[in-house]
Structures are given as structure tokens and as C-alpha cells.
């Protein structure tokens, strides 16, 4: 399994363009946090995390990280070199999704903690506690998004399903109705202190994110096994 993780890891680490894009989006997030701090908003961290990070930055960062781990192609094409060397497609898919999820979680968690620390306002929770809680929410949300986009990558010749799921997340996850339950967006928003979907508790949303991540990873692995 470790050797199968080497290819997606190298794709992530050695793709300069992916790093530049990730850095640019992260810089945007930190700039928004600095702006909230400069405005002296009492709920600066909440606003920056919900309105900018959860709304735009986290999904886009995960989208870019998954794309980089797959070499900007479909899941099937991304696994082809490993399968050509005799790796079982299911295991290769599992390793690739795991790398994408861990990288996404690390980037998402770190950025959330950074935004919470910089944009911290007077009415926000204590800075350290808020940063840790935000890192947890961001990391979990990013991992769920990575699995979500990995599933999308299983569709389309060049993994165009990934972009479709990004749009579906935006379209369905915005409201607090039942349709949001099936998207990472609604639960991430709840964990960051925004409106919960269906009045769910934060713990229930965390469980839902784990469920979404597991279901998407399993479905993507099944697709890879079936089509490769």
C-alpha cells in the first residue's frame, strides 16, 4: 500500500503549478483574514471562516489537491501506471484517495487555523481554542471534499465529474434544507459555526462528513476496480 501511495504523493509534491495554485488560494484566505482583523470585526474569525474559507477556499483547495494527486486526469487514467505494473486497481485507488485526502486535510486544516488566528475578533472564542477547532473542522471537511472529488474523478474521460461535483456542492449545499445533507458544504458550514442543515448538531455534521467521505471513497474505489 505504501509503494502505491508514492505515485500520487510525487504528483502532489513535484507539480509546481499545483503548489502555485494552492499557495495563491491560501494567500487569498490569509488576506481575507487580515482584512477582517483590520476592520476590527468582533466576529472576524467566524466571518472569514464561514463567508470565505468554507464558502470558497476549502472546496477549491481540495479540488486542486485532488486534481494534483491524480495528475489532472480521471481516476482511471491516474491509476493506469500502477495497474500496468500489476497493482490491484482497488488498492491503487484506495492509496491515491488516501494521499489526496491527507494532503487536503493538512492544507485545509492549516489554513483554517491560520485564518482563525489572524482574523480573531473580540467576540470569538479564545484564539488558540478557536484555531484548534477550526483546524479540526477544516481538516475533516477537506478530507470529505477530497473523497467527494475523487468520486467525481471516476466519471468522464478526463475526470470531468470532479467539476460537476464542485458545482453540485455549491448548488445543493447552500441552503439549510434536506438537499444539503448530502453535500460536504452544509456540514462544513455547521462545523465552522454557520447555519446547520436540518438543524443538526455539530457532532452529527462531523459524523455526516465521515459518512460522506467513506461512501465517496468506497464508491470511487468500486468504480476504479470495475473500470480499470
Amino acid at each position: 500500500m505504501i509503494e502505491l501511495a508514492r505515485l500520487p504523493l510525487c504528483r502532489l509534491v513535484r507539480t509546481r503549478r499545483a503548489w502555485l495554485v494552492l499557495a495563491a488560494w491560501s494567500a487569498l484566505g490569509l488576506w481575507v483574514a487580515a482584512l477582517a482583523r483590520a476592520q476590527g470585526s468582533a466576529h472576524g474569525a467566524d466571518r472569514a471562516l464561514i463567508d470565505a474559507y468554507g464558502f470558497l477556499l476549502l472546496p477549491v483547495l481540495s479540488y486542486v489537491a485532488v486534481g494534483a494527486a491524480l495528475g489532472a486526469r480521471s481516476l482511471r487514467a491516474a491509476l493506469a501506471p500502477l495497474v500496468a505494473f500489476g497493482a490491484p486497481p482497488g488498492r491503487a485507488a484506495g492509496a491515491t484517495i488516501a494521499v489526496a485526502s491527507l494532503a487536503s486535510a493538512a492544507i485545509g486544516g492549516a489554513l483554517a487555523a491560520g485564518i482563525a488566528a489572524i482574523a480573531h475578533g473580540a467576540a470569538d472564542a479564545p484564539r488558540l481554542r478557536d484555531a484548534v477547532a477550526s483546524a479540526y473542522a477544516g481538516g475533516l471537511g477537506a478530507a470529505a471534499y477530497a473523497c467527494w472529488f475523487s468520486l467525481g474523478s471516476g466519471f468522464g474521460r478526463r475526470g470531468g465529474g470532479r467539476a460537476l461535483l464542485l458545482i453540485a456542492d455549491w448548488a445543493l449545499g447552500e441552503g439549510d434544507g434536506a438537499q444539503g445533507f448530502f453535500t460536504p458544504r452544509a456540514h462544513v458550514r455547521n462545523l465552522l459555526g454557520g447555519t446547520p442543515p436540518l438543524g443538526m448538531t455539530e457532532r452529527a455534521s462531523a459524523a455526516a462528513l465521515v459518512l460522506i467521505a467513506g461512501a465517496c471513497a468506497a464508491a470511487a474505489t468500486w468504480l476504479a476496480r470495475r473500470r480499470t
Binding site: E3, L7, A77, P81, F85, G86
Partner: protein, 301 residues
């Protein structure tokens, strides 16, 4: 090692129907145009495609078994290699996945004369170099027991093309099954010990001699004869006209294309005509007839 039992499969535009064959250790060729289905057949052997009916057994197991996949290597026309890695890293990754230990990378590439590629990034390789790396990996892995190669001499690094025949024979001597698909009769004859003729998804003949396949193809054989100049070709064509063995004859510049049921009969007719009309023949080449061309010639769709 590889057994197909009444296999039917389809992946547009290729179809295989009622295909039964068995290949053991050695170098075997499948001769046919790409549309005849060799790529689909290889997909079945590698577990990348599933048969609609019938059974495919590779190394006494199903091609989709993890233990079988590791021991089967496929050299595609457009091979998949891990693009962010260097060639040496890619071979080392392949060795780990296949369970091969302690292999020296330079030596593996040297078998096809491409050891200078070791430090290059895979994404910087040309198609021919990538195919050579893929072939070196497959031919030198001790764990690999079955190798399928699409068009081994087409778009192959020239250094590798010179050595791949010997490397494949050496792998065969080590008890491996090497299956080669080619639309070139000459390549098949050069590389393999026995041949199967694949036409429109069916194996229509098997033989250890390419010559023997010409007569049973049902579509005959096409011979292209090159004269030294236009006049020579014109004289040769005139000398060949009216020979009973010919089903068609056409001249284009310095070459004459003729078609008939038997390559030997055609070659004899050319020899007689060349001697009778005192024309110098500088090259004579057998050309495969693609399924579509054959159908068109027969007035089919």
C-alpha cells in the same frame, strides 16, 4: 499459460467472437490489423476487459486476480508510465509492486540498450523511449510470466528495436509466454515462433510458418514488387498480366501491387515475369490485407 475458451467480447470498434486458443512458454504472434481485435484480446489477458461469454485463464487463474495481475505485463502502443517519476524510480516502483527484489536498474534498461534513460523524468520521454522502458521493465522482471506486446517494432526506440527480438526469445527460454500482436507479417515472422491469424475478431488460422497463413486467410495475400524504375515496373506489370494466380494487379510508380491466394505462387509468377522480360526486381514485400480493405475488395460493407 494463457487459455481462451470460446471467448466473446466487445469494446467498440473491436469484437471478438468464439475465440479459443492456448499459448504456453515461447514467443507467439497474433497477426492482424488493429481493428481485428488484438488490443481487446490483450485487454482480456490483462484483466482490463471482461469477456461477454467464455472463459479466459492466465497463469492458472483469472486475469483479474491480484496474484495474476502482478505476473502479467502489457506493452501498449501508448504505454502508461508514472509521469512524475524518473525512469529509475519508475522501475523501482514496478519492482516493489511486482515483488521483485534486488534488481539493478541500469542492467534492466541495458538489455534493450536504453540505460541512458535511467535519470530522465518519465514525462520527458518520447513515445518510442517510453515503449522501450516499458518493454525493459516487462522483459527483465523475474516475477512476470506472461508478456503481451502490441506492435513491438513500431514506434520503438531504435536501440531497443534492434535488441527486443533477442530479449523476447531469452524471456521465452526462461519459460515466459510472450504474445506479440502485429499487423506486419514481416515483424511477426522475425519475432515469433508460431503465428495466429486474427481476422474480424476470429482466429482463422494458426501455424508455425507465416507462409502457411497466406493460403488459409481467405483474403489472399498482397505482394508489392519494386522495380528499379517506372519502365521496369511497367514492363513487369505487362509480363504479369494474364497470369492465372493473380486476382488483381496495379502499378504505381516503380512498384507493382499484385494479389492472389498464395504468396509462393505470386512470388514464382513475379520471378518468371522478371526473367522473361529482363526486369531487375529490387525488393519484394508481402503486405497484410486489413479486414476493411478485404471487405471492400469483396464488395462488402
Amino acid at each position: 499459460m494463457i487459455t481462451l475458451d470460446r471467448v466473446a467480447a466487445r469494446r467498440s470498434p473491436m469484437t471478438l467472437s468464439d475465440l479459443s486458443a492456448q499459448w504456453g512458454p515461447g514467443v507467439h504472434s497474433i497477426v492482424g490489423a488493429p481493428a481485428d481485435g488484438a488490443a481487446l484480446l490483450f485487454g482480456l489477458v490483462c484483466g482490463a476487459s471482461s469477456p461477454r461469454s467464455g472463459q479466459v485463464r492466465v497463469l492458472d487463474g483469472s486475469p483479474t486476480d491480484a496474484s495474476v495481475r502482478r505476473r502479467v505485463a502489457r506493452i501498449d502502443f501508448d504505454p502508461s508510465l508514472p509521469e512524475p517519476l524518473r525512469v529509475a524510480e519508475a522501475l523501482s516502483l514496478a519492482a516493489k509492486i511486482r515483488g521483485d527484489a534486488g534488481l539493478e536498474i541500469g542492467g534492466r534498461l541495458a538489455i534493450l540498450g536504453v540505460e541512458t534513460l535511467a535519470a530522465r523524468f518519465v514525462r520527458s520521454l518520447s513515445l518510442a523511449e517510453a515503449r522501450a522502458v516499458c518493454a525493459a521493465e516487462a522483459l527483465t522482471s523475474p516475477g512476470v510470466r506472461a508478456i503481451v506486446v502490441l506492435e513491438p517494432l513500431v514506434a520503438m526506440d531504435p536501440r531497443a528495436a534492434r535488441r527486443i527480438g533477442d530479449a523476447m526469445r531469452s524471456a521465452a527460454r526462461a519459460g515466459k509466454c510472450v504474445l506479440v500482436a502485429s499487423s506486419s507479417l514481416r515483424d511477426a515472422a522475425e519475432l515469433a515462433d508460431d503465428h495466429a491469424l486474427l481476422q474480424s475478431g476470429r482466429i482463422v488460422a494458426r501455424s508455425s510458418s507465416i507462409e502457411a497463413l497466406y493460403g488459409v486467410s481467405g483474403q489472399g495475400v498482397r505482394l508489392r514488387v519494386f522495380a528499379r524504375d517506372d519502365d521496369g515496373a511497367r514492363t513487369l506489370a505487362a509480363g504479369l498480366a494474364g497470369i492465372a494466380e493473380l486476382t488483381s494487379l496495379e502499378r504505381s510508380g516503380t512498384s507493382v501491387r499484385l494479389r492472389g491466394a498464395s504468396a509462393t505462387a505470386l512470388a514464382e509468377a513475379v520471378a518468371h515475369a522478371a526473367v522473361a522480360s529482363d526486369v531487375e526486381v529490387i525488393e519484394m514485400r508481402v503486405e497484410p490485407i486489413a479486414a476493411k480493405q478485404a471487405l471492400a475488395a469483396e464488395g462488402g460493407p
